[in-house]
């Protein structure tokens, strides 16, 4: 709760600081704020669960853990904002303020206990994102991305709201625990169709936010058009918060309706894995590949939802937590490197990475670790993320789905190797062969990201069963 208050206050303060128009003040300021928020969040660990706003928001282990991921992600991402923000000086403070506000939305999505809180959280997060997608005002692709994201997002929000309304109609309440009771023992069986349609519409609404197939079509275009810095934010924070919300909805409010939603989620999961991985395999630019791969990771996380089984502390919830953390860190690293390279070399296809192993060993190493983690190769956090999720799913008897996921991750290895091949095995040619400039803070952050990924891969026990 302290984190929400801090973020809101400093978001507004940040807007006032915008008069200074100096990145030398603003960037460290935002980083300090996020550090404070991270600390305040950690201070809530191991406290008795607390409720706020008339039991609409709970701060418990679940909330603290996922909030930790989103705040940490944002914090680790910020050093890469520098070169982008310098080029667009006038709106500096607004972007930072929007980032802080969007985190408020993310935390509300994670901690909600009441569907209104979920809706408000999603809106706060989404509206910030619509704006940030169009942050590069003079770039027509960025404008297109913002418009596309906004239109599709607005529809999805409408659908989600409709679903919430129907759910309310069927159960007479917005509170998760009361919905669970009402679904388990329906007072009026004739309302069941309304309930089911409501669940379906909510799944569609949230499925859009986390870019699960078949509601993923916006993802590649929006990711490609959005400035890389904000793409990284979108593909990590929004996804983590979305899945935390999704799991809570299915596991806390609707376990009694599992017979209805489980097949739907399973089908979505298989489709997402297929379209995400096959889509990523045929891409020619690194950024679009990462966009499609982000769809595929939604597929792996959906496996966790399938195995959720009505618990926020079991193997599946822990798996989703660990996977989100490993995925977020690796994605920030990948987008961070990609942004630095693309800014300098003015191209974001695979060939743009050629010879990076020679010119920038650090960047190449970090990118390699990130790719291996996303591919799920041991020594990295991604491996244990996949292992925990798949094990949880096999434990619930979803063997077919897991086999399919394993086959799909073989496809994944193919396309995650392509940047590595470009960086180490192909020589750089022509004017792109000189080193990419990286400042000290960025080097430090990249090193930290690689270190965190490897630490998660070597000592997963530290964070694997904490929920």
């Amino acid at each position: 709760m302290t984190s929400i208050i801090l973020l809101s206050i400093f978001g507004i303060v940040q807007l006032f600081l915008g008069f200074l128009r100096s990145n030398k003040v603003l960037l460290p300021g935002v980083m300090l704020v996020l550090l404070a928020v991270f600390g305040a969040n950690l201070a809530d660990w191991n406290q008795a669960p607390q409720s706020f706003f008339n039991q609409m928001l709970t701060v418990d282990h679940y909330t603290v853990a996922f909030t930790g991921i989103v705040v940490l992600t944002a914090l680790l991402l910020l050093p890469f904002s520098r070169s982008y923000v310098v080029a667009h000086e006038p709106n500096l403070a607004e972007y930072y303020a929007l980032l802080l506000f969007s985190l408020v939305g993310a935390i509300m999505m994670i901690g909600y206990d009441h569907l209104l809180m979920l809706f408000v959280g999603i809106e706060i997060l989404s509206i910030s994102m619509y704006v940030l997608a169009g942050a590069s005002k003079r770039d027509s692709r960025s404008n297109e991305a913002a418009l596309k994201y906004f239109l599709m997002g607005a529809f999805a929000t409408g659908i989600l709201l409709f679903g919430i309304a129907l759910l309310y109609g069927a159960t007479g309440t917005f509170a998760l625990s009361q919905i669970a009771a009402a679904v388990a023992a329906p007072a009026n069986a004739s309302l069941l169709p309304m309930l089911y349609i409501g669940i379906l519409l909510m799944i569609i609404g949230i499925g859009f936010k986390v870019s699960a197939a078949p509601f993923h079509f916006w993802t590649p275009d929006v990711y490609e058009g959005t400035p890389t810095f904000f793409t990284a934010f979108m593909s990590t924070v929004v996804k983590t918060a979305g899945f935390a919300a999704f799991l809570k909805l299915l596991a806390v409010a609707l376990p009694a309706a599992q017979g209805f939603w489980a097949p739907t989620i399973q089908a979505m999961c298989a489709l997402t894995l297929l379209l995400g991985n096959v889509g990523a395999a045929v891409q020619t630019t690194t950024k679009r590949m990462l966009a499609y791969s982000s769809v595929s990771h939604a597929g792996y996380l959906l496996i966790g939802l399938v195995a959720g089984n009505g618990s926020l502390t079991g193997p599946a919830a822990n798996g989703i937590f660990f996977y989100s953390l490993a995925y977020s860190i690796a994605t920030v690293a990948a987008f961070g490197v990609l942004k630095l390279v693309a800014d300098h070399r003015q191209r974001d296809d695979y060939a743009g990475l050629n010879g990076l192993g020679k010119t920038n060993p650090l960047l190449a190493f970090v990118m390699t670790v990130a790719m291996l983690s996303l591919a799920g190769i041991p020594l990295t956090g991604g491996f244990f993320g996949k292992l925990f999720l798949l094990t949880a799913a096999v434990g619930q008897g979803h063997i077919g789905l897991v086999v399919f996921a394993v086959i799909m991750s073989m496809v994944g290895i193919y396309y995650y190797l392509r940047p590595i091949i470009a960086m180490y095995l192909r020589p750089a040619e022509g004017p792109t062969a000189d080193a990419v400039p990286v400042d000290g803070l960025q080097s430090f952050t990249l090193g930290l990201l690689a270190l965190l990924t490897i630490a998660l891969g070597i000592l997963p026990g530290l964070l694997s069963g904490i929920l």
């Binding site: 618990s311 079991g314 193997p315 822990n318 192993g357 291996l372 190769i377 041991p378 020594l379 491996f383 244990f384 292992l387 925990f388 798949l390 094990t391 949880a392 096999v394 434990g395 063997i399 897991v402 086999v403 394993v406 991750s409 073989m410 290895i413 193919y414 190797l417 091949i421 180490y424 095995l425 192909r426 000592l459 997963p460 026990g461 694997s464 069963g465 904490i466």
Partner: protein, 488 residues
């Protein structure tokens, strides 16, 4: 504690290499591997006196999921650890010859790989085993990909995809086994991924039937057994010499070792169900590899196919499920490791001097290179399995085991001795003897440093050939316990 030092010393050295330059780099890399070998030798001596219990190390790794960091040694592990620690310094010496670009990264990857390999041979926990299994793969991918020949990118990609697909199937099998252990409680901590817990599982024949292929997939690709071998000749040819030595000398043994330790005792019913098809595939590999080797013009390719043929024999020996066949596989793992590293070193030495490894371009080298040709001949005759060499002991025991399983299969597999004599003697004749080539006047003999690589190899060839008992005694209890777990 000593076990942990043994496992992580190469890794620590690899990290340190990053901060060194020039001669220091070489000294550090070689020094670390020599210390490592001394450590392994010390453990081996201590082991034969006091038994293995002192070398068990068991820590909770992922407590919430019942996964332990459990490493330990038995006779089988010990022999492979000895082989690895013995070969890696020699492989490094070979790498020193080669003048590879960015040497400290090259050596660091070799050392990194050593930790992965040792981890594979020492793990007693399924997920730890898988972890090291993949850890060993990453450095070899970069070694082959970054320093390899012209077609390296396509070839290493193929290699990586093949092995990873196999590994993932194995992982799926392990996850299934893992969930069968312990009470089926809601928390993962109720399960265990210990090797011993897997051994205790009582699985139905139907389950074992498909689990067999899930787990065997990884080993079959790594060995490689026919028809999972298509990555092998290309990768061996394109990879730089030290990487090829690592692949053929040690990494290939991961497949055999895995079969012995992780396949036979865990799914014994599956093994007896699929024993026949696998042996037939293995023997097809023996004949097929030998026949193709006869037609090769490239030295490295020839040795690659010969290695394919020899590993087929080892696989057949393992699946004969006889004491003698398994012991033969153990000895042959050591002998083949030594032989193949020696052979690739010869090929590398010739290529460095002449710039070619094509048989038609070579010939008549022996007049100016007596030392090289003697070393070459020893390695070659051991590979052909001449009595008194290590290769003979291994192949004899293997063929005896296969013969015990079926006389017909044994007879067909025995053809390998004739075939390997054909292609290897032809290899020697075309390169060292025969009409003079443009190089026969200018080629230089082995240097002292190169001789230092060959001497230990030759010593071991004869040690294995004359006193195989040294090694057979170490592995015997382990092999017996594996066989008793299979129910033979």
């Amino acid at each position: 504690m000593l076990t942990a030092v043994l496992l992580f010393l190469p890794l620590a050295a690899a990290l340190l290499l990053h901060f060194t330059k020039g001669a220091t780099t070489r000294a550090l890399a070689l020094g670390a591997t020599l210390v490592e070998f001394a450590l392994a030798a010390f453990i081996a001596i201590d082991f034969t006196r006091h038994g293995s219990s002192a070398y068990n190390l068991d820590y909770a790794w992922v407590q919430s999921a019942g996964i332990n960091f459990h490493i330990g040694l038995d006779g089988l592990s010990l022999l492979l650890v000895l082989l690895t620690t013995f070969l890696v310094p020699l492989i490094l010496l070979a790498a020193f010859r080669g003048n590879y670009e960015n040497p400290s990264a090259f050596y660091a990857l070799v050392l990194f790989m050593q930790t992965g390999l040792l981890g594979v041979f020492m793990s007693l926990d399924a997920f730890l085993f898988y972890f090291f299994w993949e850890v060993a793969l990453i450095p070899i991918y970069f070694l082959a990909g970054a320093w390899g020949g012209e077609r390296r990118i396509a070839v290493t990609l193929k290699f990586f995809l093949y092995t990873v697909v196999g590994s993932l199937l194995m992982l799926a099998g392990f996850v299934y086994l893992y969930l069968q252990t312990g009470p089926a409680a809601g928390s993962l901590a109720a399960h265990s991924s210990e090797l011993s817990a897997f051994y205790k599982l009582r699985l139905s024949a139907g389950e074992q039937s498909w689990l067999f292929w899930l787990i065997f997939a990884a080993f079959a690709v790594k060995m490689p057994i026919f028809p999972f071998h298509t990555w092998q000749p290309d990768t061996y040819t394109e990879a730089p010499a030290p990487a090829t030595m690592l692949l053929a000398g040690i990494m290939l043994k991961m497949g055999i070792y895995g079969t012995l330790r992780w396949l036979l005792p865990i799914v014994p019913l599956g093994v007896s169900q699929w024993q026949k098809p696998v042996i037939i595939l293995a023997v097809i590999g023996v004949i097929y590899g030998a026949l193709i080797a006869i037609r090769q013009r490239d030295m490295k390719r020839l040795i690659a196919y010969s290695s394919l043929s020899h590993v087929g024999l080892m696989a057949a020996g393992v699946f004969s499920l006889t004491q003698i066949g398994l012991q033969g596989a153990v000895i042959q793992m050591l002998a083949h490791g030594v032989n193949v590293v020696g052979m690739f070193f010869v090929a590398d030495a010739i290529e460095r001097r002449t710039g070619t490894r094509l048989l038609p371009d070579l010939g008549g080298l022996t007049r100016r290179t007596p030392l090289l040709s003697v070393c070459f001949l020893v390695m070659l005759l051991s590979t052909v399995a001449l009595p008194l060499t290590g290769g003979f002991v291994g192949e004899f025991l293997l063929l005896a085991g296969i013969y015990e399983y079926s006389a017909w299969v044994g007879a067909v597999a025995g053809l390998t001795i004739i075939f390997s004599a054909v292609y290897l003697l032809r290899l020697f004749q075309r390169t060292m003897l025969g009409p003079d080539s443009s190089f026969s006047a200018t080629i230089t003999d082995l240097t002292g440093g190169e001789l230092a690589v060959f001497v230990p190899l030759i010593v071991l060839v004869f040690w294995l050939g004359l006193f195989p008992g040294t090694f057979l005694h170490i592995s015997e209890p382990a092999v017996s316990s594996i066989l008793s777990a299979v129910g033979r």
